[in-house]
Subunit: 535 residues, 2 copies
């Protein structure tokens, strides 16, 4: 890989900085030092050019076979593996995430690309539906009606700060949008431009190697909001994928909704991931659960969308041992460097707001390091009461960083009231025996109305990339609870059904031809089958 250029990539071309370009540098959060090179913000005419090329590429790319799309996605995965050392090293400099974690994240990223390759190659994801003609039906004949999912068109993806690989340039949004047949325009996250450039050049290389239209992929840099705004407002952009803060996510949702033609905008934003320890489990293995919880809320310096930030425990003494263990571990915790100075500052601001609440008690906070250069934070454990949380619901808002809030509830009834007062969440976790769980049916019902994933006897951090995963949830967890941004179902965000009525066989897409040449699963007259349509 050549030296980093600091320049955007527009449909295969590394573009020169615009005359009036502002530039920015990544910061090493461990030292506060700037990292070379300087990155030039893309100009609005460069945005226009990138979107124009994406729109030009949309038809040809959208018509590719699943096998061709699969080859492209696998080529990107191989490219990332080939650049693993350089990628992980740069991502470490830009994010302060440990090398081992970044190696794991790279494996997750290539696994994701291959999962979507497999989904595209297998082909049944298009939900082909066929209701054959019934020429003799009374009172009216039935036409031949066939439908399948088709790509939306150019998709804008925003890189996320907390996963410089798995939720960024070649992350799940990009992989699923490509698999569905859409060109992708990535707005790089300004915290890790170097990592973004390395990945972006690998994708551009795969576009070239696979002989795809150049506009299938572009990567744009910007430290401000101009490029983002122009992309989301552009009439040829058809959908948006984003993982980040509530404020930024809401701003994008507003831009998408206020377009003359509103477009789907998938923002994954804010979740406190409540965790409840039920009575028998608390008695049987409270200490062990507390130890697991400590690991979960401090994992990656608490910088996961699924960090458990609210822990519900009874107010009575049955939770004392649990709380004592959690307190001890937190007090013994070590400082760690957060992703960016800004994120670190926000963590402390939020934490201090909670600490300042007169019903919030600081149970433990690890010792600050004597030398606290850079964006460093220590684990913190706060406690409040169910009454206080019901009166001050802002205490339940996400705090992005290594802290959690223990909520001591008065009784089962109050626990249920607290669950019912909760905002939308990505996850909710329950620790219990099986009889605990059966006795908590009301609580499970309340949680599943408010969360996308319910975890039993586990911790929410660690989101498996598989077919059944749901990484989504009611607002403010995401913009729209009907979708997931992790797992193979993420592909459905970037497609729409198109129906063909009385089309001759030769003009139908292969997925809908009577003989089922692709051998995919299809719904014929309401039944799933891989059979051909009977004549």
């Amino acid at each position: 890989m050549a030296t980093l250029t600091g320049l955007s990539i527009i449909g295969q071309e590394t573009v020169s900085p615009a005359n009036s370009a502002t530039s920015f540098r990544a910061v090493n959060p461990a030292t506060g030092d700037f990292l070379e090179p300087a990155y030039s913000s893309a100009s609005l005419s460069q945005v226009e050019s990138a979107v124009q090329r994406a729109a030009d590429a949309a038809s040809a790319y959208g018509k590719l076979s699943g096998k061709e799309k699969g080859r492209f996605l696998r080529s990107i995965a191989e490219g990332l593996e080939g650049a693993a050392e350089e990628l992980v090293a740069r991502a470490h400099l830009e994010s302060a995430l440990p090398l081992k974690r970044l190696q794991g994240e790279l494996a997750r990223t290539t696994n994701q690309l291959r999962l979507f390759a497999q989904v595209a190659e297998e082909g049944s994801w298009v939900q082909a539906r066929i209701d054959p003609a019934q020429p003799d039906r009374k009172p009216l004949p039935r036409a031949d009606i066939r439908s399948m999912l088709r790509p939306l068109g150019p998709v804008v993806v925003f890189g996320a700060s907390n996963f410089p690989l798995a939720f960024s340039v070649a992350g799940g949004d990009t992989a699923s949008a490509f698999a569905a047949g859409n060109p992708v325009l990535v707005k790089a996250h300004p915290a890790h431009p170097g990592t973004s450039e390395i990945v972006g050049r690998i994708i551009a290389g795969s576009v070239h190697t696979c002989g795809l239209p150049a506009g299938v992929f572009s990567l744009l840099f910007d430290a401000g909001v101009e490029v983002a705004t122009a992309l989301v407002q552009h009439p040829w952009v058809k959908a948006v994928g984003f993982t980040g803060s509530l404020a930024a996510g809401k701003a994008l949702m507003r831009l998408a909704a206020e377009r003359p033609d509103p477009i789907p905008c998938f923002t994954e934003m804010s979740s406190s991931n409540p965790l409840v320890v039920l009575p028998e489990a608390l008695a049987e293995r409270g200490t062990q659960i507390a130890a697991g919880l400590y690991e979960s809320f401090t994992l990656g310096v608490g910088q996961f969308c699924t960090k458990p930030g609210l822990v519900f425990l009874p107010a009575d003494s049955s939770a004392d041992t649990f709380v004592a263990e959690l307190t001890k571990r937190t007090a013994e915790g070590a400082a760690a460097v957060m992703l960016t100075p800004g994120i670190c500052g926000s963590f402390h601001t939020r934490l201090n707001q909670h600490k300042a609440h007169d019903q919030v008690q600081v149970l433990a906070e690890a010792a600050q390091p004597s030398n606290s250069n850079g964006a460093s934070a220590v684990p913190a454990l706060l406690q409040t009461t169910g009454d206080a949380l019901l009166k001050s619901p802002e205490l339940a808002h996400e705090v992005f960083g290594p802290s959690t809030l223990v909520v001591r509830y008065a009784d089962r009834e109050q626990l249920l009231a607290l669950a019912r007062a909760m905002e939308g969440q990505l996850t909710a976790s329950l620790h219990g025996t099986e009889s605990d769980l059966m006795a908590a049916a009301d609580l499970v019902e309340a949680l599943q109305q408010r969360a996308g994933r319910i975890v039993f006897n586990g911790f929410p951090t660690g989101v498996e990339v598989c077919h059944a995963m749901v990484h989504g949830g009611p607002f403010p967890a995401t913009s729209d609870s009907r979708w997931t941004s992790v797992g193979s179902q993420a592909i459905y965000r970037f497609s729409r059904p198109v129906c063909y009525q009385d089309f001759p066989e030769a003009a139908l897409p292969d997925e809908l031809k009577s003989g089922n040449p692709l051998d995919i699963w299809r719904l014929i007259n309401g039944n799933w089958t891989r059979d051909a349509v009977m004549a």
Copy 2:
């Protein structure tokens, strides 16, 4: 059926008018006379009470089995059939739609209810996905991950003016929301309150007969926008279904997007349904296609969402016979009564705007009846050029009523440019020979990017209720192109995936239990099967 009361129905109870209630009467559009009884607008406290009951009912109703939901939907269908005579008579008075059409619409409505009953009973619609645990996986074991679709919660449905039965109180939105497990609050269309009340009482009766929680269904009357606004803004309302005008649909979208927690808002609004006659078909059977087109654009006095309102024909003499036939039929057309005086007024306003355009020519307009009491309109045929339409895109906007606009394009290139300049559409239709169609691949590609359904050698009016139907399309056809409001896929609008991680068998919903007790299709490790999960 007892005499009409003029009152809203809130969870089984026919409620008294609020003290300050405003009241309104339906108008017989054929005579301009008011129809009894007066309908009281629901008060905001009645709205609050209805939503509260729906929210209270949501958990219990959402947990019903598919068989129980099927029984409820079938009971409504039987109730409608039992009241057929009264219903059709009242709907005729309120809408001026012919009795025969209303009988057909009633059959469509009961068919829809039974289709959704069947979908709920069969059960595979929940898209159960299971990725079993892999305890021995390296480097980390995989948890057991299972997900399925679950109801959203209370859904608000707006009755449509143009289908007093099939898209109103017990129409497709209500049937699909019920089938997915959601309570429904219907805001009746003020043009047919009597029809709405009859249907509403039948649904309330079925709620009672089936022993469901009373709040599963409410029906609210209002001639203004207060009730609608309060419903869409209510924090416990989780989704909205609407079919109607662009202005009203956009207002609802805005309300839904501007909530503190935005919710899905499905509005089906505006489509001109372009129709293209390709050269060989034009030569071979132009006259016959023209005759079919006349029937389609005047069907139901042009008051279908799928009325073909734009007809693309070459500028040269090859289209002259076609145009002559269409002109002759239009000139010979008869006056007919529209749904409401307001809709009739809007039709004439829009038509006159188009007529006033200096590049629009009136080819034919049927004779006005000498005695034109009521909301009567006659078929109209306008013509313009491709150049004019490219310069004045507003000529392509929907005109709701019995008119169509012939667009004479200069050449194939201009036809393609016109297609690419087109807004989102519910449908696009092509008439051609098979070789016409194969030669028009670019055009088909452009149309399928802009429409939900492409019809070959047919007319878009008449939307089959089946599994493969797509009645949706890019904005402004609908608020979100990824959904259909007709056909069994409409159920997916009102559900969201929920994931269960490491849940014990006993606590899983039946759909996700390993043994597959419901015998539904499930995606296990990415493969569709009805097999049990292997231990």
